[in-house]
Amino acid sequence: TQTVSQSDAHVTVFEGDSVELRCNYSYGGSIYLSWYIQHHGRGLQFLLKYYSGNPVVQGVNGFEAEFSKSDSSFHLRKASVHWSDSAVYFCAVASGSFNKLTFGAGTRLAVCP
């Protein structure tokens, strides 16, 4: 069984700050990791994914994430946040069958002007 842990329920930063949202997973086999963003009351928007290759993957709107097998992590980063980045961010993992996606609890990011 795969599990996803997002240790920070809330993160607050100021506009222009850098931010890292943490995601740890547990699963021993080949794994597919992704990040989604959910603005209030909306559906989820895909940000980026990792399956193999370069452990640093680039996504939309300046987001990137780094896969670490040794740490079982897939942390999301952005060098300079904008107020419009305020949202809930979900990390998700799938293994084997890509049809079964498990989501973390989410991290609510608040960007203060």
């Binding site: 597919y32 559906g43 989820l44 895909f46 399956y51 049809n99 079964k100 498990t102 989501f103 609890a105």
Partner: protein
């Protein structure tokens, strides 16, 4: 470009009443389709997925059922709603291992 539409946008229903939520994907033939449920302020729980017409796999049922009557349509339903069915229902489709989500249907059961 692919578009995903969910209906209705929102519903208020009574406990014990039936429910039918719909999802349609346009611009993608034979998509894999998914249903998720999200409690208010919570994470997403995958409910069902379907890789072809007439075939639905259950992940977590929560006293709900799903059907895929057409290639581009996925239906979530129940004959008797429970209070615990309240929440946000999201449909998704996948392409090359990535799932793309619809705008969702908000359900309040009273």
């Amino acid at each position: 470009a692919q578009t995903i539409h969910q209906w209705p946008v929102a519903e208020i229903k009574a406990v014990g009443s039936p429910l039918s939520l719909g999802c349609t994907i346009k611009g993608k033939s034979s998509p894999n389709l998914y249903w998720y449920w999200q409690a208010t302020g919570g994470t997403l729980q995958q409910l069902f997925y379907s890789i072809t017409v007439g075939q639905v796999e259950s992940v977590v049922q929560l006293n709900l059922s799903a059907s895929r009557p057409k290639d581009d349509q996925f239906i979530l339903s129940t004959e008797k709603l429970l209070l615990s069915h309240s929440g946000f229902y999201l449909c998704a489709w996948s392409s090359q291992d990535t799932q793309y989500f619809g705008p969702g249907t908000r359900l309040l059961v009273l």
